[in-house]
Symmetry: C2
Subunit: 500 residues, 2 copies
C-alpha cells in the first residue's frame, strides 16, 4: 500500500511539494534578497478590513506619523496601523520606513511576499483605526498600478510570491568585471557564450530559511513561514567563473590580495540598491568549485524568473549567493557590503551577527515529501511508502537516509536515487563535488493496531555529518539553517482497521 495524499492538488497549492519529486525540474522560482525571496506558504487571499469601533483618521493625520520619532503609521485597505514597534522586527529591515505615513499597497505590489495570511495577521495586531471615506477615495486614485501586470502566468503547480523579474535585453546586456589587473571588463552575452567553454552541472539550491516553519513552532522567528519546499534542483550550463577570471588576468598577484568575489544583480529595490552577495575566492577560482556564470537551465535559456540572461550558480552554497540577473563581478579583499551578506543570512541570532560568518555552505538536510503531514493512508497491504529529498552543502554527498515510523525509536535505511527516472543512474560524483540532492524512497511495514504514525527522517553525508535530533537547540531569530530531523504525523485509515 501507499500512504497516499488525500488531496494531491491541495498539497501542490500549499507547498509545491510534489513537484520536488521531478528530479531536475527546478523549483527555484525565488527572488533574491530577504524582501523578495519568499513563496507563499499559505495562499494569500485578499484581505478585507473588518468593521469596528476604532477611531477614524484622515490621511493628513497619518502622514504626520512618518518616522520612529513621531511614530510609524501606515494604511492598508482603509485601515490605519501604528507599526512603530514592528519596525525593528521587520525581516526586510529599515526599508519598511519607505511606507511610513502612507499606504502599504505600492510596496506590497512590488514585494508580493507580503500578500499572505501570516503577514496580514501580524499587521492586524497593530491596527489603531480606519481612514475616513474621503481619504480612502484620495488614496485609491494615487496608488500606482502594477507595472508587471502583462507578464506571462506561471505553472499552476507553483505558488508565486513575486511576479516581477527585471526585464533584461540580451542585445544590450553587459556583464562587468572589476578588480582584475587590466581594469574593468565589459562582456556581452554572446561574448560570454562564445569565448569560454560551456560547462554543465546539476546542482541543488536551498534557501537559507528552508523549513523555517519548524523553528516558528518552537518560538516565533523573524521571517515568513517556509515549509520544506524552499529548495530546488536543476541542470545548469554556462561559463566557468574560473575560466573567465583567469582569461582576464586573475593570477597569483591578484590571489595574494583578493579574498572574495562579489556579485551584484541588475534588480534593484525601491531605494535603488542592487542585490549583492559574495563568496570566498577559493570557491570562485578552484577548478573543483564548479562555479558557473550560467545562461542555460535544463538545456534552455535561463527563464526570466531564474535570472535571464546570466546568473551565478555556486553549487554547494546557500541560494542567496547564487545571484540572478548578474550585472557585475568584483574581485575584492572584502566581502560584499550588502545587507544580505552583512546583516542577514547568518546562522546565529542578530546579537551574534558580528562573530557569525555569512552562510556559505549549508549543513546536511533531509525532509519527507510523501506522505504529507496530517494525511491518512490506505494500509491494505500493511506497507507504507515514504519519500523525500536529502542534500548537503559543500559538495558532500548524501550517503545514507534513515526513516522511522515510530518517532525515532527504530530506523530503516532508505533507497537513494538521483532522480525519479532511474533507467540511467548517474555515475557517482567525484569526492567533494556532489552538488545535486538525492531523492530517497522506502516501503516500511506498518505495525498492526497502529492508528497514527510519526514518520521521521535523518540523513548522513560523506563527512559523516548528521542532522540534529531536535529544533530548539539550533533555533535562531531569522529561522535559518533549520535542519533537525524532519517529522510528519499521519493517520492510518479507518477503513483498514475495520478489515483487521
Amino acid at each position: 500500500m501507499v500512504i497516499s495524499l488525500v488531496a494531491g492538488g491541495a498539497l501542490v497549492a500549499m507547498e509545491g511539494r510534489n513537484t520536488l519529486m521531478t528530479g531536475c525540474r527546478s523549483l527555484d522560482l525565488l527572488w533574491q534578497g530577504c524582501w523578495q525571496v519568499h513563496w507563499a506558504a499559505t495562499s494569500a487571499e485578499l484581505w478585507v478590513t473588518q468593521t469596528s469601533n476604532l477611531p477614524v483618521y484622515t490621511l493628513e493625520e497619518v502622514t504626520k506619523h512618518c518616522s520612529l520619532e513621531s511614530g510609524v503609521w501606515v494604511t492598508y485597505k482603509g485601515g490605519v496601523y501604528d507599526i512603530t514597534e514592528f519596525v525593528a522586527m521587520h525581516p526586510g529591515g529599515n526599508k519598511i520606513l519607505l511606507a511610513a505615513g502612507g499606504a502599504l499597497e505600492p510596496y506590497w505590489a512590488l514585494y508580493a511576499v507580503h500578500q499572505q495570511d501570516h503577514v496580514l495577521e501580524i499587521l492586524s495586531e497593530y491596527k489603531i483605526g480606519v481612514l475616513d471615506t474621503e481619504s480612502c477615495q484620495k488614496q485609491e486614485s494615487t496608488i500606482p498600478l502594477d507595472p508587471y501586470s502583462a507578464e506571462p502566468t506561471r505553472h499552476p503547480a507553483l505558488q508565486i510570491n513575486s511576479l516581477k523579474p527585471p526585464r533584461v535585453d540580451p542585445e544590450t546586456y553587459r556583464l562587468e568585471i572589476e578588480g582584475l589587473p587590466g581594469g574593468v571588463v565589459s562582456l556581452s552575452l554572446s561574448e560570454l557564450k562564445s569565448r569560454f567553454p560551456k560547462h554543465t552541472i546539476t546542482a541543488t539550491l536551498q534557501f537559507a530559511g528552508n523549513r523555517r516553519s519548524e523553528m516558528n513552532k518552537v518560538k516565533q522567528v523573524k521571517g515568513l513561514n517556509w515549509g520544506i519546499a524552499a529548495i530546488s534542483n536543476a541542470t545548469w550550463s554556462g561559463a566557468r567563473l574560473r575560466d573567465v577570471l583567469l582569461s582576464y588576468g586573475f593570477g597569483p598577484e591578484v590571489a595574494a590580495k583578493a579574498k572574495h568575489v562579489q556579485f551584484e544583480g541588475l534588480d534593484r529595490d525601491v531605494t535603488g540598491t542592487a542585490y549583492g552577495a559574495s563568496i570566498p575566492l577559493n570557491k570562485a577560482v578552484s577548478e573543483e568549485g564548479d562555479v558557473l556564470l550560467a545562461y542555460e537551465m535544463n538545456g534552455e535559456d535561463l527563464p526570466p524568473d531564474h535570472g535571464y540572461p546570466v546568473r551565478v550558480v555556486v553549487p554547494g552554497v546557500v541560494r542567496a549567493r547564487n545571484v540572478k540577473w548578474l550585472g557585475k563581478i568584483v574581485v575584492s579583499d572584502e566581502e560584499s557590503k550588502s545587507h544580505w551578506q552583512q546583516n542577514d543570512y547568518k546562522g546565529f541570532s542578530p546579537e551574534d551577527f558580528k562573530s557569525a560568518p555569512a552562510i556559505q555552505e549549508l549543513p546536511i538536510q533531509s525532509a519527507i515529501t510523501h506522505p504529507a503531514e496530517g494525511t491518512s493512508g490506505d494500509c491494505s497491504d500493511r506497507e507504507g511508502t515514504v519519500k523525500g529529498y536529502a542534500w548537503s552543502g559543500g559538495g558532500r554527498e548524501v550517503v545514507r537516509v534513515d526513516v522511522s515510523i515510530d518517532g525515532g525509536k527504530t530506523w530503516h535505511v532508505a533507497k537513494l536515487h538521483t532522480s525519479d527516472q532511474e533507467q540511467h543512474p548517474a555515475p557517482p560524483p567525484p569526492p567533494g563535488r556532489a552538488w545535486a540532492w538525492k531523492l530517497w524512497e522506502i516501503d516500511v511495514p506498518i505495525p498492526h493496531r497502529a492508528q497514527e504514525l510519526e514518520i521521521v527522517c535523518k540523513a548522513v553525508d560523506s563527512s559523516y555529518n548528521t542532522q540534529p535530533d531536535t529544533v530548539a537547540p539550533i533555533w535562531n531569530l531569522r529561522g535559518v539553517r533549520s535542519n533537525a530531523w524532519h517529522r510528519v504525523q499521519v493517520k492510518v485509515s479507518e477503513g483498514l482497521k475495520d478489515q483487521k
Copy 2:
C-alpha cells in the same frame, strides 16, 4: 571559582586529559591499525588467574582446538579459554586465529592494547579450564621475550598501549612512489628534505573511535573503551605531497585515470601485512589540501612514536589515513585494499560496510576537558570555569561552542582560542583550511542551591554543521564518529552549601 579537579594526577593517569590543554603539544601516541591504535582507558594491571574448580587441560589438548571447525582455544597465564564465539567480534578480525591452540602472551606483548582491564574482563567470560603444571612450565620456556624492552620510557602523563614503533634507519630509509609515468621512484630522507620546499601546518588528528565509551553506554560496541582523549594537535613540517607527485610526473594524464593515493607503513603485523590506507586523489594533489610528507613535529625530527622518519599528515581527515613510518605511496585507480580501509573505519555497522564510505573527513566534534566527570568543585564565588576542545573535519573552522550547565536547557557562548598562550593569537585560517582544533573556555554562573550540574557542550562549524543531541541515533557497532553533545556530571561541593 573554578570547578577544579579533585585529583589532577588521577585524571592524567586515566585519560591524559589535561595534556589536551597544552595547545600544540601532541597526544598522538597512537599506533596505526585497529590492533594497535589504542591507549589504555584504564590501567592494565597484571592479571592473576583465580583458582577455581574448572577442569585441568594439557597443552596437547589445547593445541587440538586451533580452528573454527575444531573450536578455538587459547591460553593466558595458565588459564584455558574457548574463544570460538568471540572470533567474529574481535576488533582485529581474523588475526586472533594466529593464537588459536596456543598462548595469547606473545601476541599481547606485541599489541599491548590488550593489556587492560576491559580486555581481561572479556577474556574471563570464555574461561573453560586451567593448564596442568607441566604445560605451564613448558609454555614459560617457549614464550618469546619482549624484543622492545630496551626502548626509552615515555612521559609519565601519557598512558601507553604499545611500546614498539618500528626502528627505521634514516641512512637506509627509502620512500617508494608507484603509479607515476616514469616508473617507481625511490627517495632517500635527505632527498625528500632537500628537493622540496618545507611547508608547515598545525593540524589536529582524531582517532575514528574518539569518545567511543559513550556509545558503549548505549549498547556494547566492538572496540576498546576510548574516552575523549583520542585526539591530538601538533605543528607538522615536511614536503607537500602535491609537490612530490608533480615533480615525478603527476599530471592530467595520470589524473584522468587515478582516483586515490595509497600509503603503506613500514610497520607489519605478525602476518607480515603492512599497515595501509588511502585518500581521494583530489585531497592528495590539491594545493589547498595541505597534505604533507612530514619529517618534523613541533619543530623537531618526528619522534619514533609518531612515525620517524616520515609520516603522512592529511589534515582534516581521520587519523587512520595519516600513515606513520611511511614506506610507500601508490597513485592508483583503487582505494587501499587494506583491512583498515575496506573492513574497518567505516561510519556504519558492518552489515552496511559495502555501502558505507571509508571514513575520510570526520564530523564536527567537541568535548569538555574540565571539569571531569564526577568531580566536585569549590563554588565560593558562584562561578564555574568549563574548558574543552572543538574541531571539525575537512578544514571547516569551529565558529561557535555553546555550553550548558543545566543539561541543555539554557546555553552560554564560550570563548574560542587557538592555544593556551593567547599573547599572539593566530590569524584566522583561509576558508576550508582550518586544520587545528579550537580550545574554548567559559566562566558560567552557578545557580544557588545547585547540588549537581550536568555540563553539556555543542559546537558549530563554518558550514553550520552541528553535533547530534544524543548518542543512540548515531550508534554503530565499531563505535566510530561518536560526536553527540558531550555531557559531564559534577557535584557542587558540600563546603559551599554550608556557607550559604
